[in-house]
Subunit: 126 residues, 2 copies
DNA sequence: ATTATTGCAAAGATTTTGCATCACC
DNA sequence: GGTGATGCAAAATCTTTGCAATAAT
């Protein structure tokens, strides 16, 4: 049985309200502004918990660290090879979710896609 | 200018021929059977190189380690919450690639999606 | 000849964990 | 009161890197 905690609530809200894709220590430093005593271990424990719950997504952005995304509405990511900038891609994905549903029972808790290339901004710098 | 090496060739082929999603050290132990002297650093260096080239994909399977996938034909992954098993989902994704293409110029080098849930096998064990 | 790549080992970075204490139910 | 969650720090894990030697062009 899980008990509520201020720390977990703050982490969940922090991720829900931001639109970037922070790592664990970025979340840690952000939360510390409101709750200076929070520990990094607690942030890691709760991020893992929230990913398992399906409240947040875990992303691999290719830099070796785990990134997190509070936007659970299924969407995709475009990552620029040159500047590293990440753009969210929202689109109809009914078809793909139906296909995924064939593989499981119950709700699907995570869903995220990455594309890598040269973004339009970097392209125009030539 | 890049030079060819046996080590890199073996790593690329190893990933192209297998259909699981190994971590760096799994690739390392696999290659060591043919080339016992290869070092872990070399495997890491080449995996990173191959990801950047777009020859292989980097996957985040939620266990904290980076996984690799030699199947570059765009596809999706279903990951069972209970047994950890991974199933590939192949389907038409013309629409989604077109959408991603709006964000960039040149080729898109990576593309991979994850879904998490309870797989049919685990479901049937109740 | 030049320089990319390697093997090795050490260093760096990230993430997990043991434990005493605290807070929720 | 019982137990889930925390803070802290140490440990474990994963990945990168410096450097001398080797191999590819």
């Amino acid at each position: 049985m899980t008990k509520r905690s201020l720390q977990r609530d703050l982490i969940r809200e922090n991720l829900a309200h931001r639109h970037d894709h922070p790592t664990a220590d970025m979340v840690y430093y952000s939360i510390r502004q409101e709750l200076p005593n929070i520990s990094l271990g607690t942030v890691y424990r709760n991020l893992k918990f929230l990913v398992e719950q399906g409240d947040i997504l875990s992303l691999n952005l290719g830099d070796g660290r785990e990134h997190f995304d509070g936007q659970i509405k299924p969407h995709y990511h475009f990552i620029c090879n040159q500047c590293g900038n990440i753009e969210d891609i929202f689109m109809d994905e009914l078809q793909i979710c139906e296909e995924a549903a064939k593989h499981c029972s119950g709700k699907i808790t995570g869903h995220s896609t990455y594309f890598y290339g040269l973004c339009n901004q970097c392209k125009n710098k030539h």
